[in-house]
């Protein structure tokens, strides 16, 4: 018996085991929403803005391992999710996004709320397609879930014209789909891997660089086993943080622009860099000519196109991290690396990762307060983008029970809070802490309402320095303190050539504590270090709605160490 397209979409979602969708209605998806009304298996989360919606789906997907499903309308509904698509594309988050579209016969007519969303998003999706024939719908939906979740995961967009939703057609939802142009690398070239292993074995100063691929593949235990068996120290990228527990004796820290001194020195001095699941982003490499200058480089990645793109490597291996590490563990034999590890420890002693402790509350103290508050427990930490994100990646301790979700590739301000709400929706029994700044939080502040109505008690640790701090830090260090457009207190009547805060500065808006209250949430302001843990403890008692803890940090605090963009990783600004 034939069924309508809208019925088939819901059937497909049910068969894919989708229990939560993030949806914002509109003219061209009302049929689909009407179908969602008639069923009980799938919970529909209504956000307050489509950008918030897609970041919620990202946080949900990242934290649960399931696909994040978004349903939005045509036109502005569709264009509002583009930032999230790009974010998910960069950080390899599996999403299936259904956008409504005007009926087929109106496409191309500049109809009301018509945009060519497939055309607009071609470069920021793994796959995108407009459904032009009702009988293709089942196959396209199956393809979407398959493509989003396999290989290097990513977002898939299905543009669904209104008439396809209402037209009857095949009721079948296929259980598998063959796509002749879509190949997934499942195996691993044993010969190449052996070559890589031998290289590592012969190294005097070996180093493993673990990227986000380890976390995506959930190969963390295997990485630990391999590193332990061979006694090779490990550094991580930001997306790779958590690949190895922060407490592990072989873990050095994050490398890159705001990496740990010892980690960057280890990359500079190692003779074999054994990298797994990283793209060698410019934030990791700095000046490419000076990157790991003494090292032979091994690169294992599931994506062929990531290999030898930024850094020319000596041993390229296309493989899933799990498959490669399984083999490597088989072969692994202990290496004598004591003196090399001692050298790394000395670098760390020379320039430890530490902020001042003599005047007032620092971001490090806040991160330590978070670490202490959730020690030994499961917790999900979600950050926004900016200085607080760097402090979090520097000072937050991750182990097997913790997960960090952050916008690493695109660096999307406004990501953190909705992503945390999505993570909490997917993990109602796990504490979710959103670490954010006063700038980024305001980019999707409307999701406070979503969080309250959905009953998601996210703990929002908002570091308020009255500035768009990351850019202000650049102005402070490299642009003679000309704080153009980075001060969030600045008003019309401020002096035109302001070079920093003073007692005469105007009041900050909004009052985040009052704002929380107006949403029916909770607000706590923390000004002293002694209050940090008590505030987190109080926030944890609120189980019905989120709590904003506003931490008043020093206005001109900067993230150190720092490597100026485009220079060598050894050129760290330390003080």
């Amino acid at each position: 018996m034939d069924i309508t397209g809208r019925k088939l979409v819901v059937k497909a979602l049910q068969e894919e085991g989708v229990d939560t969708v993030f949806g914002y209605p509109g003219g061209m998806v009302t049929d689909l929403f009407d179908e969602l009304y008639k069923q009980d298996d799938i919970r529909v989360i209504l956000p307050r803005h489509e950008q918030g919606l897609i970041h919620e789906a990202e946080g949900y997907a990242r934290s649960t391992g399931k696909v994040g499903v978004c349903i939005v309308t045509s036109g502005p509904g569709a264009t509002n999710i583009i930032t999230g698509l790009a974010d998910a594309h960069y950080d390899n988050i599996p999403l299936v996004c259904i956008t409504g579209q005007v009926p087929l016969n109106l496409i191309g007519n500049d109809a009301f709320q018509e945009v060519d969303i497939v055309g607009m998003t071609r470069s920021v999706t793994k796959y995108g397609v407009t459904v032009r024939d009702r009988n293709d719908l089942g196959k396209i939906l199956k393809m979407a879930f398959h493509i989003a979740t396999t290989g290097k995961p990513g977002p898939v967009l299905i543009d669904l014209p209104k008439d396809i939703q209402t037209t009857p057609g095949k009721a079948e939802y296929p259980d598998h789909v063959d796509i002749r142009g879509y190949k997934i690398n499942e195996g691993v070239h044993v010969g190449q891997l052996k070559k890589a292993y031998k290289l590592l074995k012969s190294a005097k100063r070996p180093l493993i660089l673990a990227g986000g691929g380890i976390n995506i593949a959930k190969a963390n235990d295997k990485l630990a086993a391999f590193a332990e068996k061979m006694q090779v120290p490990v550094v991580t990228t930001i997306m790779g943080k958590g690949a190895l527990s922060a407490h592990h004796p072989l873990y050095v820290g994050n490398c890159g622009m705001h990496g740990r001194y010892a980690a960057n020195m280890a990359v500079m001095e190692c003779d074999v860099l054994f990298s797994i699941g990283t793209r060698f982003n410019d934030r990791i490499t700095g000046d490419l000519n000076e990157f790991a200058p003494k090292a032979k480089i091994v690169h294992i990645d599931v994506d062929t196109a990531s290999i030898s793109r930024n850094v020319v490597v000596d041993v390229p291996i296309v493989a899933d991290a799990n498959a490669a590490l399984e083999k490597l563990i088989e072969w692994a034999e202990e290496k004598k690396t004591a003196s090399w590890r001692k050298q790394i420890a000395e670098w760390d002693k020379e320039n430890p990762l530490e902020m001042r402790r003599d005047r007032g509350m620092t971001p490090q103290m806040i991160m330590e307060g978070i670490n202490h508050s959730f020690a030994g427990e499961k917790a999900i930490y979600v950050t926004d983008v900016g200085q607080h994100q760097m402090w979090a990646t520097q000072y937050i301790d991750l182990d097997e029970k913790k997960q960090l979700i952050t916008s690493g590739g695109l660096g999307t301000m406004g990501f953190g809070f909705p992503a945390a709400v999505g993570a909490k929706i997917g993990n109602p029994d796990t504490p979710v802490v959103c670490i954010t700044g006063d700038g980024g939080f305001q980019m999707n502040i409307q999701e406070m309402a979503t969080a309250v109505v959905q009953g998601t008690p996210v703990i929002i640790c908002l570091l308020n320095n009255y500035y768009l701090g990351m850019v202000r830090q650049m102005q402070q260090l490299f642009y003679g303190k000309r704080y153009e457009a980075t001060c969030l207190r600045r008003r019309k009547n401020c002096p035109p050539m302001c070079k920093g805060p003073s007692d005469a500065c105007p009041k900050y808006e909004p009052d985040f504590v009052k704002l929380a209250e107006s949403y029916g949430a909770y607000g706590i302001r923390v000004e002293k270090e002694e209050e940090i843990e008590a505030a987190i403890a109080e926030a944890r008692t609120h189980t019905d709605a989120p709590t904003i803890i506003e931490f008043m940090i020093a206005t001109e605090e900067i993230v150190l160490p720092m490597v100026k963009s485009g220079t060598a990783m050894s050129q760290m600004i330390l003080k």
Binding site: G119, R122, S123, R132, I179, G181, K183, D303, V312
Partner: protein
């Protein structure tokens, strides 16, 4: 930097050409020419793409193309025996009688057809390699004030036995 050729099998679907050409513009790859048409299987289109790039970029281009869901197969034609031709029409305008005669001679030497002729103009139909077409255009430009050119871009297929381009 040198010219390289790729044969690309893609799904014959709406938007695939835009996706392939978008990759070249989005990633700043230097696209020289791109032709596309269906194959013996009407669900599959075949593109012949010419790019100018260094070795590393070319490897990356092939990988990026391979990664597209709609791309079925990428064949590097740069160093294999192929037959390659480009269709080109060249109209020479405002010719004197002497000019016309000369154009006929050029056509003979280049082994191209005179497809049409008018009172003061001649139309050449050329089916040569891209390079030979370039040479012909250069010659016509140097000799005549007004010419009009339309080129189809190269199409290529692997040779059966001989090695010719």
């Amino acid at each position: 930097m040198k010219n390289r050729w790729i044969a690309l099998y893609v799904e014959n679907q709406v938007g695939v050409l835009a996706k392939v050409s978008g990759l070249f513009s989005g990633k700043s790859y230097n696209l020289q020419s791109l032709t596309v048409g269906t194959t013996e299987d009407e669900t599959v289109s075949r593109m012949t793409i010419c790019v100018t790039s260094d070795d590393i970029t070319f490897e990356q281009i092939k990988k990026q193309l391979n990664r597209m869901v709609e791309v079925i197969k990428v064949i590097d034609l740069t160093n294999v025996p192929i037959h390659m031709k480009e269709i080109l029409f060249a109209k020479v305008l405002h010719c004197s009688t002497a000019d016309k005669e000369e154009v006929f001679q050029i056509a003979q030497v280049f082994n191209v057809q005179v497809a049409d002729i008018g009172k003061d103009s001649v139309l050449l139909e050329c089916k040569l390699t891209e390079r030979r077409n370039n040479e012909l255009i250069a010659l016509l430009k140097s000799k005549y004030k007004t010419i009009e050119v339309v080129r189809g871009g190269a199409v290529a297929i692997e040779s059966i036995s001989t090695s010719c381009r």
